[in-house]
Symmetry: C2
Subunit: 333 residues, 2 copies
Amino acid sequence: MSVNRQILLKSRPEGAPSLDNFELVERPPPEPGEGELLMRTLYLSLDPYMRGRMSAAKSYAKPAEVGQPMVGGTVGEVVRSRHPQYPVGDVVLGFGGWQEYAISNGAGLRKLDPKAAPLTTALGVLGMPGMTAYVGLTEIGKPQPGETVAVAAASGAVGSVVGQIAKIKGCRAVGIAGGAAKCRFVTDELGFDACIDHRAADFTQRLAAACPNGIDVYFENVGGAVQQAVWPLLNDFARVPVCGLIAQYNLTSPMGGPDMFSVLRKRLLLRGFIVSDFAAKRDEFLREAGEWLRAGRLKYREDVVEGLERAPAAFLGLLQGKNFGKLVVKVAR
Amino acid sequence: MSVNRQILLKSRPEGAPSLDNFELVERPPPEPGEGELLMRTLYLSLDPYMRGRMSAAKSYAKPAEVGQPMVGGTVGEVVRSRHPQYPVGDVVLGFGGWQEYAISNGAGLRKLDPKAAPLTTALGVLGMPGMTAYVGLTEIGKPQPGETVAVAAASGAVGSVVGQIAKIKGCRAVGIAGGAAKCRFVTDELGFDACIDHRAADFTQRLAAACPNGIDVYFENVGGAVQQAVWPLLNDFARVPVCGLIAQYNLTSPMGGPDMFSVLRKRLLLRGFIVSDFAAKRDEFLREAGEWLRAGRLKYREDVVEGLERAPAAFLGLLQGKNFGKLVVKVAR
């Protein structure tokens, strides 16, 4: 415990980020003050929203600061404690960032039971991405039995849960993913009714064929060309929870959105959200998703990268769809 | 009663419609069959949605048919009847179209009491436009006291009601209208807090100045340049009932909508609707709006054109904002 390796945001990207935007440094581990504790990072979550934090643009959360560690959710072990509720040895879900050690005053921490579920699930299927899928689909998408739910990035941390909950709710689940292997996983392992490779030359036609009754809920993770292919398939009164736009995050000028006429004519509902807007649903989510997981109705796949130093490259890969499943960095050796 | 003058849709417009798209013809008045009645049109409503009916494009309602009378809401007097519920002399709200006489089987008719309110109000403030404002604002916009509600076409049939209900609900109401006279009417007569002339060179700056706390509800009637000026002023969690896009109705190619990033970052809600989606709210609307009207809390202005033959020119003027208040054609002499 002599060194705290950190990945700092070195500079803000213009367009696509690169390795040059990050810097690995070694610092002395911090000492917890009164009422604080020191977490040793076991796992760091890598998520698309972090691209937004790299930019200075106004958004729902403050940007990461240049010269400071990148922000991020973590599973950590309490290794020093001056906090009465979190003794040494506790394992906690927190927001330690891209570093080996982080101080916390306890705010926003949640204790994890390592016997209840694998620790990494607290960053994925039972964590922020899983809850994002759950609240976006159930609170905004409101899928009804027999309807068709479409979701892109369908093998990813959010999309995989969206489609599986859609199936649990009695819907037809149509995934969109990059490449044959991911599509096979989405249908064969996750149980979606169909999954279309957005890289296929006839993607638009295949998507239409997979949605013979149109699309009632489009869970928007990606924007861009996928959105354009989905839009004409939306049914009257379709709902579009807008969760992410990963295909557009690196654009340097705004991209026009869908024609508002379609919104009017089809009486569409579009609603942007982030998971914290539905914080009151956390217990409900953990109870329901936990039951589905134990019953084998909710499956997940993780893409675990070893070593904090590999986080920047892994994150850049995430933005290009190179990961396969929820991307997590195993930090502590 | 020897002749039924009708305005037919002669051809479908490409881009902006013109007088050539309409044709005035004289036909023998139809005879009601068993269970039918004949209405003599007293007033014909002219409304922006009719532009959509002139086109063959798929929409929420079937297009008007070439060679047939243009469709439209009417106040009519029953002049022949073989329908037990509607004796001769009844005055009814119906959908008689652009003609002097129309047959009905009673479906969708509503009897009007000429003593309760001026008959034309059934086409405006107490009719489809008023109810459109009411349901769009209360069911989708959900304005909270102290919030700012912005609406374009603010002196028109829908916009005027939107802003006045916003005031009743304790909001700041900001109108947008074309020209100084309309803007004065909107503030001085209707009681909006501000009204900005969208033709002013510094429209965008003036609108921002009129919304010092941003915009929480934007009731979308117009689209186009007004939408672009409003968009940056939307607050987090703003709601956008999408009711109409009159500035875009004559475009021959689709116009890109607002940047989806704003929808995501600000957690916006956009929802297209038409008044019939909320048909179950009709009694509530009539009760509440009727009370507001009698109490002087809801004011209205009508732009009454005399003579069916002037309907096409009046309608073309409506699309250009030339009317001032709810546009109605007085048909029966």
